[in-house]
Symmetry: C2
Subunit: 340 residues, 2 copies
Amino acid sequence: MPQRVTLAMVADKAGMSAATVSLVLNNRAKELGISVETQERVRRAAADLHYRCNPVARGLRTKRTGMVGVVLPDLTLSFCADMLQGMEDAAVEAGCGLLVRTCGRDPQREEECLDWLYAKHVDAVLLTSFMPAASLPAIRRLNTAGVPVILAAGDAKHESTLPWIAIDDEAVARMATSHLIGLGHRRIAHFLVNERRLAGYRQALADAGIEYAEKLVIGGFADSLDAALENAAAFFDGPWEGGAITAVYAGYDLQAAALVGVATRRGIPVPSALSVVGTDGLPFAAMTSPPLTTVDLPKRAIGIETLRRAMAWLDGQESWQDRLCPGTLLVRGSSAAPRS
Amino acid sequence: MPQRVTLAMVADKAGMSAATVSLVLNNRAKELGISVETQERVRRAAADLHYRCNPVARGLRTKRTGMVGVVLPDLTLSFCADMLQGMEDAAVEAGCGLLVRTCGRDPQREEECLDWLYAKHVDAVLLTSFMPAASLPAIRRLNTAGVPVILAAGDAKHESTLPWIAIDDEAVARMATSHLIGLGHRRIAHFLVNERRLAGYRQALADAGIEYAEKLVIGGFADSLDAALENAAAFFDGPWEGGAITAVYAGYDLQAAALVGVATRRGIPVPSALSVVGTDGLPFAAMTSPPLTTVDLPKRAIGIETLRRAMAWLDGQESWQDRLCPGTLLVRGSSAAPRS
DNA sequence: TTGAAAGCGCTAACAA
DNA sequence: TTGTTAGCGCTTTCAA
């Protein structure tokens, strides 16, 4: 197991002191007026030896590890995985590493993750949380140590106290609902996700002069296919009333897909007897038959944006531009005009 | 921005030397015979001050960063994301961190990722690669520095030269094909994934005394839905011959789902006119109608296993038990006996 | 324009 | 049984 190449070895080979080598390799030659010849010698030696700065030693001095911590609920959710991929894209660009941790939906584990990242001396933390309130103490601990924590696509409740990048849920829901209204639907049910999507749904109705009816709003958020199928079955057995409702803004793709599946199985043709619109843009939304009309969410873009914000903060540009990201309506086969 | 607590501060508070504190906190008190009272004092002080060892400083001394590098093609693929989640599960258990990097299907980027992790001084690397041959130099560089590289669910070609944990593709394909044969199918097409799955498919046929026909094997691996749909269309226009084939072992869920979709659209009932079996156990496989019969792959388990192997290696247990992991047949709606 | 020296926080010989 | 000492490899004044 041969030694890794150190600064001292490069200095030796170049016949320079380690200090000079360090300066040159960190591109501070210009500002300090180091002779071009010296620079050449140093770079040459470094290249010859394939020198790579040891970030551990550097970190000890500079108090910067070049690593950003990421806390996510679950990589198994394609939403999270996509966002993480975005963060990774931006991390490569920024030259930093991503230290990843998952915590399910457990606030206690979330706090543990944050504390663990604190101990690891990451430079910043990107957090996607359903309830950041619970781990506020850990967040504050990080902040106190100078580590920014940025909320990515998280719950809105703490948007005011923490920097964040989020999905414009209201616009997303409005877009989906308006699409259905534009097709001619008037009685549109909504499967609840959160307050903001509900608000968007209501707004779209209001804009079109359609009266809001509470009984058309269906709760019981499903986080598994089985739960979504049950919700769907209950819907057809109840609120749907054999056709009184001609369209559903399902709020999220899992539920939307379940509705399409159950409808098909019950001989209710989609979209002719019932239009269904989801939200998320998950892969399986394109695989149902008919394929799902949905609002694609910019998961990857949010990841990129969040990482960039963190880097900007570390560079001293505290331009805390919190941001709402829009979605994109993908019109596919599950929505159409109601049959008259 | 208050100082973080250091060992020296704990030593001060406990009225002990830093060395002693270090020893106690690293649980080496017993072996060195440090008095119980001293231990108590030290632990108490550490707890009072909320001391957390600085892994950067420790890393500089011990040459261990407590971080494992992970190189994956793309987190957007649920296969990769699931495996990463497994690695994370095991990493938490092992107390180490995961430094994640993606490289697409680009061998050059793969090599860059490996070199980057080398520079970061990770303790081990877990690699999922379609063609590890290309980055063998980078792998050797890591090995030379004492960093093990373990192949997770990768290509088999280099299984002999690198430690690996892989999917038992042959068994998986045999399982899927045998399921169809068991239902009574004799003319079973296969969409190609790799040599081993093909071998498993052939073996199942041979076991049942069914003759292998090359024209039933269909190439053109699809890595996008569109490509898979095209493949499916071509299949129905060609080899299927209006019903000569009663079943397909599609080799991977994306292709299987596309076949089901296209069949449905063309009025070919699944499974009564055509049975379809996939492999992967991807989320969308449960959302097609009918839901897909598939062989679920133990993505998460592979992730766990790979990380554990890496830790075992670092602990000096070089028990290189390379391992083939089996899949699990999930019988759902897309497969049934052929109508006679 | 370059080098010498100190020290980041920790661990591991070696002393005591 | 505990403390002293000497670095790990790097950056950063300060001095030359």
